[in-house]
């Protein structure tokens, strides 16, 4: 009891005030990693439900947009608001249900996703974005990234509406966001940066890339080539200039379409899936202008998509014409195991073999007729 009291006393005053206002809220976890506020996780004793309380800071005259926006959109893939209140002139909070798997970044770090689940989560994300884009909302999220997406029982929820803006009816554009440089679409760089509906689909395409196993390193300096690294060294440790230089280099990579390394996506991902994502993440003009175009393309190959999953044992194909296949990853030569779907015991299939996964995958693909 003393320890809980000590913990409560160590909380920021705003968090303590929330706990005073909400005696029915039982605090279980406190998170201060956010850029503009805190998150309290716990249980609502009356609703008997796990809830999250987000405390955030704003200007005195600022309209409390985030909870109002969340409350105005009723969609199964958009986080719901249970309550919202002001704590003071410059601080407010709102309450939402808790997602049991946390954010997508954590989910991707902890679990291997099957192709089918990755496809489903991407479709859900696009479905939620369609609700934001639709009349009369006309909203763009502007900050779709794994940290702002939550996963609850295989369901994806769009959260963090701090960057949301309304698209102008006249121009079809909103001002560009400068958050999360790796996720910024090409049109947000340059002399007249802007954000439109296709910018959200670009970010959704990046999420698709990550869901499929594509790598996007958060170490920004890792994206610099050797010439850029030398130039960076010459800046003599001026932090601001260095950050601006690195951002400019990454901006050039984004605009030239060289940010993503598609070779990091496993070769078992169907070509059509990769092509669809490449189109979503290409330069402005040729990418999908609407979420529904992206979704229509995605759903066309869903019925024939093999359900591969990268596991610790290898690449596992589940129930392809009544059989499961396993391409081993830690053995040389690479082998293929198979079993009747539902059986436990794998047997080795000596028809296939080779020194690389790509080679063995190509043999298997031809033999069993993968798309």
């Amino acid at each position: 009891m003393k320890m809980i009291k000590a913990t409560l006393n160590s909380l920021p005053p705003e968090a303590q005030r929330v706990l005073e206002l909400f005696p029915e809220f039982q605090l279980q976890h406190f998170n201060d990693s956010g850029a503009n506020g805190y998150v309290l996780l716990g249980q609502h004793q009356v609703l008997k439900q796990d809830v999250a309380i987000k405390i955030y800071f704003h200007d005195i005259k600022e309209v409390q947009e985030e909870p109002a926006l969340l409350a105005s959109i009723s969609h199964e893939n958009v986080l719901k608001v249970l309550d919202a209140r002001r704590l003071g002139d410059e601080c407010s909070f709102f309450m939402t249900p808790v997602a049991n798997y946390g954010d997508l970044r954590k989910y991707l770090n902890e679990y291997n996703l099957s192709l089918s689940l990755a496809h489903s989560l991407l479709c859900q994300l696009l479905s939620g974005l369609a609700a934001l884009h639709a009349e009369p909302n006309r909203l763009v999220h502007r900050d779709v990234k794994p940290e702002n997406l939550l996963v609850h029982d295989d369901k994806l929820l769009i959260a963090d509406f701090g960057s949301v803006r309304r698209v102008s009816e006249a121009t079809g554009k909103a001002s560009a966001s400068k958050h999360s440089i790796l996720f910024r679409p090409p049109e947000t760089f340059g002399p007249e940066p802007y954000f439109d509906y296709s910018s959200d689909t670009y970010q959704a395409g990046l999420i698709g890339y990550l869901l499929l196993g594509g790598q996007l390193d958060n170490n920004l300096e890792g994206y610099l080539n050797s010439r850029e690294k030398r130039q960076l060294m010459r800046l003599n440790g001026d932090r601001v200039e260095e950050a601006m230089f690195v951002d400019a280099c990454i901006g050039r990579r984004v605009c030239s379409g060289k940010l993503l390394d598609w070779d990091t996506v496993p070769c078992f991902v169907p070509k059509r899936f990769v092509t669809t994502l490449r189109r979503a993440t290409t330069k402005s003009g040729s990418k999908y202008s609407k979420v529904s175009e992206f979704l229509a393309e995605l759903q066309r190959f869903r019925a024939t998509m093999p359900d591969w999953m990268a596991t610790a044992a290898g690449w596992c194909l589940d129930n392809w014409n009544g059989r499961d296949y396993l391409v081993t990853v830690h053995e040389n030569p690479v082998r293929v195991m198979k079993r009747k779907h539902g059986n436990e015991k794998w047997i080795s299939d000596n028809k296939f073999g080779g020194n690389s996964h790509d080679e063995v995958y190509a043999q298997l693909s031809r033999q069993i007729g993968l798309p």
Partner: protein, 153 residues
């Protein structure tokens, strides 16, 4: 002369609608979406003209289909979906795949669905063929256009 003007004004005052014509053909749904009135309309979202359920869809495939269709209706603010009346008997009767697609659409379509018989389209063609100004060139999309046209006020 003034009567024509009044009629024209009345027609303009008819509420604009977004009508999606859905031609069901086995696993395929061909889509043409029109916005406006019968007198004055235009095609919207021409790039989304086909959804495909696949020959042997599982639960996830149906879910993906459902997401795509509902997102399309939400994004384009579709007021009404018009589907071809599936023939139940005789030559060319709707097959199992069409029946399945129709059932899925009926269960999850976010807007009202209207069924239109091909005889109705023929009758409209006799009376208002001159108004069908934006008909696509391909056969299936042309039929989907006829359906969408039936949904317009």
């Amino acid at each position: 002369m003034w009567i024509d003007l009044i009629i024209a004004r009345c027609n303009e005052e008819v509420i604009q609608m977004v009508s999606a014509g859905l031609l069901l053909k086995g696993n395929l749904v061909r889509i043409v979406t029109l916005s406006g009135t019968r007198q004055r309309h235009e095609q919207v979202a021409p790039k989304v003209n086909k959804l495909e359920l696949g020959a042997d869809p599982d639960q996830e495939a149906v879910e993906a289909f459902s997401h795509a269709f509902r997102a399309f209706c939400t994004e384009q603010a579709v007021d009404k979906a018009v589907i071809n009346w599936r023939t139940t008997t005789g030559q060319g009767a709707g097959g199992a795949a069409t029946f399945r697609t129709e059932g899925i659409l009926l269960s999850m379509c976010p807007c009202p669905i209207q069924f239109v018989h091909h005889a109705t389209i023929r009758a409209t063609d006799k009376r208002q063929a001159n108004l069908k100004s934006a008909r696509p060139a391909t056969a299936d999309l042309s039929k989907a256009y006829d359906l969408a046209f039936e949904g317009l006020p």
